[in-house]
Each structure stands twice: as C-alpha cells, then as structure tokens.
C-alpha cells in the first residue's frame, strides 16, 4: 500500500470511530478519486454518498450524479 493510501485509510478509520459523518463523506470521496477501476471508484463513492446523505454534505449532489452516470444509483 502506498503511503498516501495508508494515511487516508487511517483517517477513515478515525472518522468512523469519531462518528464524524461529514468527514467520512469527504474522505471516501477522496478515496474514490484515487481509483482508476470504475467498480472500486463506485464502491467508495457509494460510501461517500451515504455519509453525505446522512450529514447533508454539499458533496452529496455531485456524488449522486457520479453514481447515476455510472448506472449505480436512481
């Protein structure tokens, strides 16, 4: 695992522990951008989207379009 990815991973774990949902939205969105593989990107974007919905995060709309464009969301 490259170092930047390990760092992101540990930030995500911390945000889970803190129940910091808007941070989780941002971190998963960031993680999604690092993936060239569409399936992996959509998996992570889904995580981001759900925490965005929960916390009413401004990224939510964008994540929704991304998923919808890939046929992953209604």
């Amino acid at each position: 695992m490259p170092q930047s990815e390990a760092k992101l991973q540990s930030e995500i774990l911390k945000a889970h522990k803190d129940n910091d949902y808007s941070r989780l939205c941002e971190l998963y969105a960031k993680a999604a951008q690092t993936r060239g593989d569409v399936n992996q990107a959509c998996f992570l974007a889904t995580q981001a989207y759900v925490f965005g919905l929960q916390s009413n995060h401004p990224l939510t709309e964008h994540l929704h379009s991304f998923l919808k464009n890939h046929g992953r969301e209604e």
Binding site: Y21, C42, A45, T46, L53, R72
Partner: protein, 384 residues
C-alpha cells in the same frame, strides 16, 4: 382466553359495578385492551414541543411498539415505526438531530425525514445501489397515523379510527374558545411521574372531584367541593370543572396573561377533561396542561406532564411556581392510584360500587372502555 364479564359495567351508574380486577392486573387482558382501548383509538403519544425544530427525532416505545417521533424538513411532525424495512433493525437509538437522512446503522439504507427510502447502498452488489427487485417507492418507513391537537401528538396505530376532528368533535367544540396558539413553558414546565398502577386508574382518579377535600385539602381550601361540577360526554371524555378558579400571582400581584377573547364564563372557571383513552387535559384563562399516560405494563404507568401558556414569554419565576404547585397536586394523587392498584389484588373485590352523585365521570369512562372491548370481541368473533 377466558373473557371477563362486562355486563355489570354497562349498567347505569346507580346499578353498575366498576371494571373487574383482571382489567388492572392480568397481562392477557392488558393485551386485549392494548388493541381495543389504545391502538384502535386516537391515543396520546407525546407532545410536539418535544421535537421543536426540523430534524429533531426521538425514539419512543409505546406499549412495546418501537416508534420514532420526528419533525421533518418541512416542519411537519410525523410518527414512524422505528424499524428498518430491510432487516428490521431499530433505526434511531437515542434522541438526535437528523441533519440529512436517517441512515440505518446496519447496512446503511437511508430514509428522508418524510419517510421515503432514498438510498440502498450496495443492494445490487458492491458499488451497485439499485436492483430491479428493490422498489424504493414501496419500501419507505411505515408511518403511523398521527394528528396534533393542543400540542399533543395523537396516534391511531391500527389506522381504523374516524378522522381526528370527527372522533374528537365534542371535546374540540367544548373548548373551541381555547383553539389558539399554546406555548410550552420549556424545561421548567415538563416533568414525569412514574406510578405503580394501571393507566386507567390515573384516568379514573383524574376525572372525579369526589376525592378533592380528602386528598387535596390545600386545593380544597379555596376550591370547595360544591364549586365543582361533573362533566360527562359518553364515548368521548369525562371530567370535572370548577367555578372558582383563581389565578396564581407573584408577590407583587403579577399574573400570567390570558388567552385571547375568552368569554366571561372563563373568568373564574377551569375544566379538566380525561380525553379517552389516555390524555388528561386542563385549561384555565391563563394556562393549560396536558398529561399523557404511557402504559408500561398492567401495573406501571409514566405520566408525562406539560404546561402551556398563551404567550411565548412568561415570567420564569411565576412559571416555576405554577409547575411546583401542579406537581404537588399530582404527587398527592400518587398514593391513591397506587393504593387502588394494590386493592385490585383483593380477590373478592367486585369492581366497586359507584356513588351515583359523585362517580358519574368515572363510570362514563368504564362504560366507554367496556363498550370498546365488547365491540372488539364481537368483531373477532364475527371474523372467526
């Protein structure tokens, strides 16, 4: 199940007996009454003041039913079953502020505050959030029919009662002058009392004035028994009224403001209604209260008490004094409702003999209860 005999309860007050002991102590009858007297009716659950701003959400258990009381984004108070449509997980565990959607803690299905299912992550496999067999429009939260009146959140769990304004027309008509904004007094104006009795005993004690000189001597020193009158509206409510209500005043004679445009009868009158099944309301020229009786088993009840005023800003000192005064009165009633509960373990107690002059409102409630139970039994019988 052995059915209780309610014939004697349905007689006129001079001949009738009260409800049999089993209606206060038997878990099977408690279950029967849960449907006939509570889920089939408009029962009080909570007050809208408990969820003052959009997104406020409170999980509640009402007769074993897990419910979620919330105020949606548009400001409407709603009651949902607090159960996820996926695997039945409890959705909201603690009182919370919902910022966006309600996310189930199990697999993260998300619901809007109006109950719509808005996301089903990975439901079609990792990263695929749709599936042809998952029809979101059919999988929203189960909403419980609710209505707000006098800030009380009333629910009809079995979704079979007439529309609220029809069901409660008589009570609404009686107090139509008070059909105006009510302001909850805030933190100093709410308290709970936990009592070891069946919820019906709290109704029965509330709606009669017969006990006032003995149980509330302080109250009765200025409000004599003969200044009280019985109120009976068979099938809907019963209670008592007083003709000599005097406003609470602070040391310099300051009082609460009045509700607007009341007729002169309310200068010195006050009324106390038990709205069947489980809500006890009081109204006066300058304040009101609501008591919601939450049954916690055949022999336990939580009384949730809330005080209201005609305006948002009232003197905190006077408000505190009013709360303290009412709390004292309601606490004075605890030993009688708990004592009547224990008394109902007396095997030979036959439901009791009513005073035709003084116990009319209590009998009115029993007659209603017996009628509802009999109707339910007949419907069951017909269905079998």
């Amino acid at each position: 199940m052995q059915k209780t005999d309610l014939t004697a309860v349905r007689q006129s007050v001079s001949l009738a007996k009260g409800l049999p002991n089993a209606h206060y102590i038997d878990p099977t009858v408690y279950q029967e009454e849960k449907h006939a007297l509570l889920f089939d009716q408009w029962a009080g659950l909570s007050v809208a003041a408990d969820v003052p701003t959009p997104g406020d959400a409170i999980p509640l258990t009402f007769l074993g039913l897990p419910l979620l009381l919330l105020r949606d984004r548009e400001g409407q108070v709603r009651v949902f079953q607090n159960t996820c449509r996926h695997r039945g997980m409890i959705l909201v565990e603690h009182p919370t502020k919902i910022e966006g959607a309600i996310r189930c803690p199990y697999h993260s299905w998300c619901y809007a505050t109006d109950g719509r299912l808005v996301s089903t992550p990975h439901v079609g496999g990792p990263g695929q959030n749709t599936h042809e067999d998952i029809k979101r429009s059919e999988l929203g939260l189960i909403e419980i029919r609710s209505h707000i009146w006098r800030d009380v959140v009333w629910i009809n769990v079995n979704n079979n009662a007439p529309e609220f304004p029809v069901a409660m027309a008589d009570a609404m008509e009686r107090w139509k002058e008070f059909e105006q904004p009510l302001f909850h007094g805030g933190e100093d104006s709410r308290f709970n009392l936990e009592v070891n009795c069946n919820w019906k005993l709290a109704v029965e004690n509330y709606c009669e004035s017969y006990h006032l000189p003995w149980v509330h001597p302080g109250l009765n020193s200025y409000s004599r028994l003969e200044d009280h009158y019985n109120i009976e509206k068979p099938g809907t409510y019963s209670g008592q009224g007083t003709l000599v209500y005097r406003q609470l005043a602070d040391d310099s004679g300051g009082v609460f403001p009045d509700f607007a445009n009341l007729s002169s009868q309310w200068d010195s009158a006050a009324e106390y209604l038990a709205i069947y099944p489980n809500v006890l309301l009081g109204t006066h020229r300058d304040h009101a209260f609501a008591i919601i009786l939450v049954p916690e088993g055949p022999e336990a009840t939580i009384e949730k008490i809330h005080l209201y005023y005609p305006v948002a800003d009232t003197d905190p000192h006077l408000r505190q004094k009013n709360t303290t005064q009412w709390k004292l009165v309601f606490e004075e009633d605890v030993f009688v409702v708990e004592g009547m509960q224990r008394g109902r373990h007396g095997l030979a107690f036959d439901g009791g003999k009513f005073s035709p002059a003084m116990d009319g409102p209590t009998h009115c409630f029993h007659d209603w209860a017996a009628q509802q139970i009999e109707t339910k039994r007949q419907a069951r019988h017909a269905a079998e």
